[in-house]
Amino acid sequence: MRTFALLAGAALALVTASAAEAQVSVKLGILNDMSSLYADISGPGSVVAARMAVEDFKAAEKGLKVDIVQADHQNKPDVGSSIARQWYDQDGVDVIFDVTTSSVALAVSEVTREKNKIFMISGGGTSDLTGAKCTPNNVHWTYDTWALANGTGTALTRQGKKTWYFLTADYAFGAALDRDTSEAVKKAGGQVLGSVKHPLNSPDFSSYLLQAQGSKAQVIGLANAGADTTNAIKQAGEFGITQSGQALAGLLVFASDVKALGLQAAQGLVLTEAFYWDQNDQTREFSKRFAAKFDGKMPTSSQAGVYGSVLAYLQTVAALKSKDSAAVMGKMKSTTFEDPLMGKVTIRQDGRAIHPMYLFEVKKPAESKSPWDMYKTLATIPAEEAFRPLADGGCPLVNKS
């Protein structure tokens, strides 16, 4: 009995000693649009994904104490940057994830650089985050505007859809998507027949669709987002545009948008994403667990990206036993991550995470076997072709070396 007590005491002492030695506590901040137009793309679902990543990593067993905080940036850059500032200065947040809405993401990126913390973007789209506005503290995990334009534009043109017509939202984001995609199309040997600019938040697209139909282009590219995209697609179905042989290409479409449209309206739509729940056993297993925790909704690529980037961060901190920003960034950029959802992921010097992207087509209602059975894969865009070449982005970090 005495020996047993001694042994137990010794074991306990050992355990507590090693824990005290290795315990690193990190605080993760999930910042995105929790209530407005992008809330279904990232929103509360991203927080669920982040919690799952912490559980799956078994952080506690590996000597990490992880806290998660969340906030709504309301799609306003000033709100986003003041939350980031408060998190870094007062609340001890080490790293911010997600951040939908490009303008807010750019603002948070500035604050992160100033405070020398880490920013892992999933929901935000602008390729400037790893281009002209890149910082040593950014990792852009899931997708960017260049990758979308390249994926959909190049792949479709190569398939013989040579002529394009754009419906473009009349503001900076639409113009950028239009420009990038036009370049990709021309580079692949295609031709842009024209475009029509529509005001943001137009309920009715029939007029523009008729103009696009009149152009006889093989592809109608939708350089817009959110409700503008869903309205345009819904009405294109009504005017028989897809049935008459013209293809629709959504340049920024998430699974939640397709779900909102229904397959009847969205069928035949071609789009580029980094993730779809029904790709392989690992994505299916994750998505089913996610849905069980989140009202039966399957994860979007943006939410999957939050899961992957949280895992990558935790893995790096656990390996280093330190959360020093420079050390963590250096280690992340030299590691090849085995992301269960997006495959092999490497992070480039400019902060761009590199992994394959996929070209999907929305199924016909008859082909779909369950409510979330929505996409079929048209093509896999290999990691090395999926993102903008390092030299073309104009990132100052790259020029220096």
């Binding site: 407005s36 809330a39 279904d40 959110g226 009504e238 779900k259 909102a260 309206a265």
Partner: protein, 295 residues
């Protein structure tokens, strides 16, 4: 084939027809607003939210109860209209003696609350609602492909507008309504229950908004913000037509739909603003609106 200002005539006819379809929505919505303003002197800013509720009732009855589009056309105006009656009895009634501004603030606040509640419950990306099977497909008119459903929207809207106009201008009930607008005290003295008349009128106006919502559900995205986007334009339509003028709101509704359609051909960037430009011009020349009477 000839061209007008460089636009092929076929394309132009197509755009005019589409403008007429959009005008149908403007007409039904502004008709409801005009009826409410004419009788209650309330600027009903909840109209957009009630239009959205109409679309949602259609979606809910299909999803939860399996009730299709045609019954929803009847059901949604009744449900949402009843909700309107409740609002009028409980809240709006208390503001009749006050300045217009108070009614505007109340209804605007209500609209924000209703939209917020729906947003919390259903998210923002919208819900799918298909075109009824009887109306899928379309007709090739030579100059354009007209989806059957859009044709139906024009017909339905014309019927509703004509019916409303007929009731108000030619029936005894309509005569009471018009008289109560002119001089409520005197009409009450003749033994007409004016408060009830007013409540029912509000319910009817709201029902019209819900009907427009059901008509819109198969072609526009059914989401909590759908009314907020549209209501501003509809208010401009009412102002141009003349506040409270029933015929004015219908004619301006269709007319501005056409103008907007033409703008989408010649200078699409301006299509969101053209109605407001017209509003400014009309207000400068005829402050009471095209069909309004100066009090």
């Amino acid at each position: 084939m000839f061209t007008i200002f460089g636009v092929p005539s076929a394309a132009l006819f197509g755009q005019l027809l589409l403008g007429l379809i959009n005008g149908s929505f403007y007409a039904i919505l502004s008709l409801g607003l005009a009826v409410i303003f004419g009788l209650l002197n309330i600027i009903n800013f909840t109209h957009g939210a009630q239009y959205m509720m109409g679309a949602f009732v259609a979606w809910m009855s299909l999803t939860y109860l399996g009730i299709g589009y045609w019954w929803a056309l009847l059901l949604a105006p009744i449900v949402v209209g009843a909700f309107g009656v409740l609002l009028e009895r409980v809240l709006i009634r208390r503001l009749y003696d006050l300045d217009h501004l108070y009614g505007l603030l109340l209804t605007f606040g209500l609209a924000l609350i209703i939209q917020g509640l729906f947003r919390n419950q259903y998210g923002v990306s919208g819900l799918p609602y298909g075109i009824p099977r009887e109306l899928t497909g379309g007709q090739n008119l030579g100059f354009m492909f007209l989806p059957n459903y859009r044709g139906w929207v024009i017909v339905a809207s014309l019927i509703v507008c004509l019916f409303t106009w007929f009731v108000i201008e030619t029936t005894k009930l309509g005569a009471y309504l018009r008289a109560a607008t002119e001089n409520p005290t005197l009409v009450q003295a003749f033994g007409v229950n004016v408060p009830l008349l007013i409540t029912l009128t509000y319910g009817f106006g709201v029902g019209l908004a819900a009907l427009a919502g059901v008509l819109a559900a198969p072609i526009y995205s059914v989401n909590p913000n759908m009314g907020a986007d549209l209501i501003i334009v509809v208010f401009a339509v009412v102002v141009i037509g003349g506040m409270g003028s029933i015929l004015g709101s219908v004619i301006t509704g269709f007319g501005l739909g056409l103008v907007e359609g033409l703008t989408k051909v010649f200078y699409p960037e301006a299509s969101a603003t053209v109605i407001f430009v017209i509003m400014v011009l009309v207000l400068l020349v005829k402050p009471a609106g095209l069909f309004g009477r100066t009090a």
